[in-house]
Amino acid sequence: MTRDELQGLFPKLADSNFSIESAMTPQYNCIAFAVGDESQWWEHGARLCYWPPGMTEGGTLDSWIRVFERHGYDLLSINSTTDN
């Protein structure tokens, strides 16, 4: 994916100084990358995908928050969201 394509998908990137560190891959998704796992796709209920044991819910903001909290992230009070 090129810089232009990325900026088209995520317009706020246009205001930042970003660089492309690696090619896109279907092997893992953004959640997996965020928690340091580049070996598998993290998704609840999908075949061949990983989802943390004991987490019975997926696909919602709350479930993602709990997954990230398990991996050392803290919830801040900043109210800002970006699609995908």
């Binding site: 896109m24 953004c30 075949r47 061949l48």
Partner: protein, 172 residues
């Protein structure tokens, strides 16, 4: 009554004054030549018509039609692959990706799409496992497989079931 033509060197032919073909024309020689020409032209015309008809039959019932049908399937496949990749490349949900209209359209093509899907999976690995399972009714991927292992499992499945059509040969 025609008499023997004094100008005919073979002295085998009779001159017909009524035909008026010229002083050295022999009526029956000319008639036979004309008949030969007519038959030759008729033969060529018949052959041309036969060749033309053969091409039409070949096109309708022979090689041409499957080729154009295969080309049509491949065109639909390529268009939908391009659209699917373009519109889902930043998505993080496989369940959402395989519900995209283009992904469903590819599944809807049915069995003719299998070799195209295998080739696409081999050349540009992506999440085609659900489509392959939907079209073939099979799932050769072990439950614990990772992405590269899943790709390899489907390629091996194809080669196992299509000995003469190896992915790295005919399909690529």
């Amino acid at each position: 009554m025609p008499g023997r033509d004094s100008s005919c060197k073979t002295e085998k032919h009779y001159w017909s004054e009524n035909r008026g073909r010229g002083p050295y024309d022999c009526a029956d020689v000319w008639d036979r030549a004309r008949e030969r020409t007519r038959r030759e032209l008729g033969r060529r015309h018949l052959k041309a018509r036969y060749d033309s008809a053969s091409r039409i039959v070949e096109t309708i019932a022979g090689r041409k039609r499957p080729q154009s049908e295969a080309a049509r399937v491949e065109l639909i496949f390529n268009q939908n692959v391009a659209r699917w990749k373009s519109e889902t490349l930043h998505w993080s949900s496989i369940q959402k990706m395989i519900s995209h209209p283009s992904y469903l359209r590819i599944i809807g093509i049915g069995k003719p799409v299998i070799p195209l899907l295998i080739r696409e999976l081999h050349n540009n690995p992506d999440h085609w496992f659900a489509a392959l399972e939907a079209v073939t009714g099979e799932n050769p991927v072990p439950p614990t497989a990772n992405f590269p292992q899943a790709v390899a499992a489907w390629v091996e499945w194809w080669e196992r079931n299509n000995d003469s059509r190896r992915v790295t040969g005919t399909l690529s």
